[in-house]
Amino acid sequence: MILNIVSIVLIALGLFFFAVGTLGILRFPDFYTRVQAAGKCDSLAAVLVLIGIAVYNLGDLSLAAVLVSIKILFIAAFVFISSPTATHAITDAALLIGVKPWTKEKNTP
């Protein structure tokens, strides 16, 4: 029962951060600021949802369920390593191609 509540809290929190990330990539003014919202909020949200699912999966305590939960944690670790790498790759490419960053001075009259 406690496990269910913990997993509900984690998944709801993850969903909230997913929503914030999506809102961020819709609202921010330029590419670099969108990366901030997308790359980060999303990776934290994904990790939270995955941990929530792993906790719920421990409900029936058998060897198979535990192994599946560890596998889900592997996905979380993978997201934790790969997501910032992908963010870094996109940002680096954007700067080298020459996408202009939005700055405060230029856009305020």
């Binding site: 269910n4 509900i8 998944i11 709801a12 993850g14 969903l15 997913f18 929503a19 990330g21 999506t22 809102l23 990539i25 819709l26 590419f31 969108r34 990366v35 997308a38 999303d42 990776s43 949200a45 994904a46 949802v49 995955l50 699912i53 719920y56 999966n57 198979a64 599946v68 596998k71 889900i72 592997f74 996905i75 993978f78 997201v79 790969s82 997501s83 790498t85 992908a86 790759a89 996109i90 680096d92 490419a93 954007a94 080298l96 191609i97 020459g98 996408v99």
Partner: protein, 96 residues
């Protein structure tokens, strides 16, 4: 509990449709890639939720790992590709 997972899954689907706006509207090619990457991350979570709903997580975990991996490789590959082909005009694509 099933209803909760179903609700979360539907909410994730709606968020994916919202992210699709960034993929469609651009304005630069990198924004589209970013939108695709975000959708991919959500899909990984959604696959596991579908697994919970079908009561068969062990099977969907493998698919989710493969999906997360391919999402990463696709983003890295396309970032490198568009760096290599700098002649692609960034703004032209969105203006048609």
């Amino acid at each position: 509990m099933e209803r909760f997972f179903l609700a979360v899954g539907i909410a994730l689907m709606l968020l994916m449709f919202l992210s699709l706006y960034r993929v469609l509207a651009g304005p630069t090619i990198l924004d589209r890639m970013l939108g695709g990457n975000v959708i991919g991350t959500k899909t990984t979570a959604l696959l596991l939720l579908i697994g919970l709903l079908y009561d068969n997580v062990g099977m969907f975990v493998d698919i989710a790992i493969a999906y997360a991996m391919l999402n990463f490789i696709a983003t890295l590959g396309s970032a490198k590709y568009f760096l290599h082909r700098k002649s692609i005009h960034l703004e032209d694509i969105s203006k048609g």
